[in-house]
């Protein structure tokens, strides 16, 4: 099973090393890790998507909570989460395929960030599923490069308790 773990940490140098190092050295299976500022400049939010059995996920949560820089750990069940992710995808094509690919980009509602004679870079923001759909749609063409941010999440407002 998969779990979203939202971690609020003191915004200190090295804090990402502490969290990422813990996950690696204890052998946890992390699908994505995303970090960024919050409404409070002293606090950073790290969103982890972790795969594993329940006891392992429980351990991940406890071990992360134990890190000194960690203020709060919130495991968020998928159904109680608002999630989002962003991806940049560069596809390359031959000139004769250009109109076909433009058509698909339009159908998928992707924003074009950059375009050249034989390649285009598009951006998509949305759920992990909508990004997967976009990748699938573009996969018949040559995907030259891709960057995904990893999932960020907040609990739905009715479950919200401020840190």
């Amino acid at each position: 099973m998969k779990k979203i773990i939202s971690v609020l940490v003191r915004n200190r140098p090295g804090v990402l090393s502490h969290v990422a190092g813990l996950v690696t050295r204890r052998g946890y299976n992390v699908e994505s890790i995303a970090a960024g500022p919050t409404e409070n400049h002293e606090i950073t939010r790290i969103t982890l998507v972790v795969k594993g059995e329940e006891p392992v996920l429980d351990q991940v949560t406890k071990q992360i909570r134990k890190l000194i820089d960690v203020i709060k750990v919130e495991p968020i069940p998928h159904e109680a989460a608002m999630t989002g992710e962003l991806a940049l995808i560069t596809v390359s094509f031959t000139p004769e395929k250009k109109s076909e690919i433009m058509n698909i980009i339009g159908l998928l509602g992707l924003a074009i960030k950059h375009i050249e004679r034989d390649s285009a870079t598009v951006m998509i923001a949305g759920s992990a599923q909508s990004i997967d759909t976009a990748i699938n749609g573009l996969s018949p063409f040559h995907i030259k490069a891709m960057a995904r941010t990893g999932l960020v999440a907040l609990p739905l407002l009715e479950n919200w308790s401020p840190a």
């Binding site: 140098p13 050295r25 000194i68 960690v70 709060k72």
Partner: protein
């Protein structure tokens, strides 16, 4: 140095001190007035500030020795050990000592020098990223980048090292921070959001634990290092006696419960007494108190205490359920939990359980073999002689290996913090420096080290520190000419192929000690054993006794790694 920078530094503005002076003053103000360490280029300002101060420095002969000495000091005294090292190799030499302290939850603060902030990241001379290196082996660590942060960082470091589940904290201080001028101030009390060092136990969880004890016919407390470090030996004794709870002690808890007590099971697990493992196997309630349920004790998780409900009290919630599924979890400070439990528990005798434990102990005693026709001193007899000579009152320190397990089995400990051993990490070379640190922490208490001929050579340079500081450590080398524990595994599990475990050469340890002006002798005859050990323990100052012991002896009983609790080796 360029010519323009020569000459004495400009006088500091009033009320300001250098970073290095601030560190020394902070240590003096916080009672951390004994430091183990080794100087080097990046800590010259620190050592200069210490020169003539009220902080005493014990110059060890290797940074690893300094780290273990600070560890031994901390375990024996309950105070936070402090170690200094320079940047680069000085700092990396601390790594084993920090990992050792981390595994055994020992409060330690390591202060290391670092190249100047302007040089960090440029592969400068003696630069190593000790901050990055020590993340996984410290409770927390710091790289001080702003002079103004220094004092608050130190206050936080000492707070973290000694509170909650204790552990080592490293503070890396670049050279320019050491020479920067700062205003010495009383650091603000550490406020670390989300850090709860003394979690309040839930009354419901404690009530459930009490209820489980009431219903249990054969309860066992399995006590760990957390009980030693929180000093709850009296509380445990009272609860155990009041409700006839048997008490097993992990290696780190040895002495928390008197070994000779009727209810004591001593060390359980791989090399525990057979009666300890059988009692746990028959028990219907195991309550872990500040203990990790380590793999060397539990073995096969599915077959550990098959009849028992498992209770687990720990200050660290991440320990609960880490290896075993726990029926009765209690997160909280052990002292608080035991006080609450004492109020809830109605004392009640369990004469049948007491009788069963006595029966198991009588049926499967831990035997000390006779020397027999071989005429060789048995290593078990050596450990027993130490126990007899000290009455269990001395601080007994071990190294790692066979002698360590025999000591755990046969030393009759009577007090906590009087048996020091590298448990989780199993660090050979720990013994000599740790014994030195322990002896310096409480000058009145005799300190005896038992080490193998392998481990003693791993930090033997500390004999110089022992001599220089006249540390009255009584060193016993249990000398079997081999790496006994690995040899034993090779005998049992690898067809007696003794690959690199039998020393082709060993030095004369007595003559080595004598070269350091430490009185020493060697004995080989069993008839002189008791007297030689007793003479050593009663002697003044440091001394070494090299004891030739039978190399064929194995540590038994033994449950092979990962096996069930009644899978005693050699019994099918």
């Amino acid at each position: 140095m360029s010519a323009t920078k020569q000459g004495s530094p400009p006088p500091a503005p009033k009320g300001e001190v250098s970073g290095a002076e601030a560190i020394i003053r902070f240590l003096g103000d916080h009672g951390a007035d004994l430091v183990f360490g080794y100087p080097g280029g990046a800590v010259i300002p620190l050592y200069d500030a210490m020169f003539g101060s009220n902080v005493r420095h014990v110059l060890c002969r290797h940074e690893q020795g300094a780290a273990h000495a600070a560890d031994g000091f901390a375990r024996a005294s309950g105070r936070t050990g402090v170690v200094f090292a320079t940047s680069g190799p000085g700092a990396t030499n601390l790594v084993t000592g920090l990992a050792n302290a981390h595994m055994d939850s020992v409060p330690l603060v390591a202060i290391t020098g670092q190249v100047s902030t302007t040089s960090i990241g440029t592969d400068s001379f003696q630069e190593a990223d000790i901050y990055g290196i020590t993340i996984p082996i410290t409770k927390y660590n710091y790289l001080v980048k702003e002079p103004g942060d220094l004092l608050d960082v130190l206050a936080e470091a000492f707070h973290l090292a000694s509170s909650g589940r204790p552990g080592p904290v490293l503070v890396d201080v670049p050279k320019d921070i050491q020479v920067a001028q700062i205003r010495y101030h009383k650091p603000s009390p550490p406020a670390i959001p989300g850090y709860v060092p003394r979690p309040q136990p839930s009354a419901d969880e404690v009530a459930a634990l009490a209820e489980a004890v009431h219903r249990s016919m054969r309860p066992v407390f399995y006590v760990g290092g957390g009980a030693a470090s929180t000093g709850v030996h009296r509380e445990i004794l009272k609860l155990a006696e009041g409700s006839d709870v048997a008490v097993a002690t992990s290696l780190l808890a040895k002495g928390v419960f008197p070994d000779a007590h009727e209810l004591s099971l001593g060390l359980p697990g791989m090399h525990g007494a057979k009666y300890a493992n059988l009692a746990i196997n028959e028990s219907d309630l195991i309550i872990g108190l500040g203990v990790r349920f380590d793999d060397r004790v539990v073995g096969d998780v599915r077959r550990f205490a098959p009849l028992a409900r498992i209770g687990h009290v720990d200050v660290d919630p991440a320990e609960i359920g880490k290896r075993l599924s726990v029926d009765l979890p209690v997160t909280g400070d052990l002292k608080l939990v035991l006080d609450m439990l004492a109020k809830k528990l109605k004392p009640s005798g369990r004469p049948e359980w007491r009788a069963r434990i006595a029966e198991l102990k009588a049926a499967y005693p831990l035997a000390v073999p006779e020397s027999g026709p071989s005429g060789k001193i048995k290593p078990q007899a050596l450990v027993k002689a130490v126990s007899d000579a000290t009455g269990g009152e001395a601080v007994t320190v071990t190294d790692v290996g066979q002698h360590q397990m025999w000591a755990a089995q046969l030393i009759r400990s009577v007090k906590p913090r009087r048996f020091l051993s590298s448990g989780g990490l199993g660090t050979m070379g720990y013994g000599l420096p740790a014994a030195m640190g322990a002896a310096l922490s409480e000058p009145g208490v005799p300190t005896v080290l038992i080490a193998g001929d392998g481990g003693i050579q791993m930090n033997i340079q500390e004999l110089a520190t022992v001599r220089e500081n006249d540390v009255p450590v009584k060193i016993i080398v249990s000398n079997n000419g081999c790496l006994g524990m690995v040899r034993q595994w090779q005998q049992f599990f690898f067809g007696r192929r003794y690959s690199s475990t039998v020393f082709g050469y060993n030095p004369d340890f007595a003559r080595i000690a004598q070269a350091y002006d430490i009185p020493a002798r060697r004995i080989e005859d069993p008839s002189g054993l008791a007297e030689a050990v007793s003479d050593l323990v009663r002697s003044d100052g440091p001394g070494l006794l090299d004891v030739a012991v039978d190399p064929e002896e194995n540590v038994l009983p033994m449950i092979p790694a990962g096996k069930g609790q009644t899978d005693f080796f050699g019994e099918g």
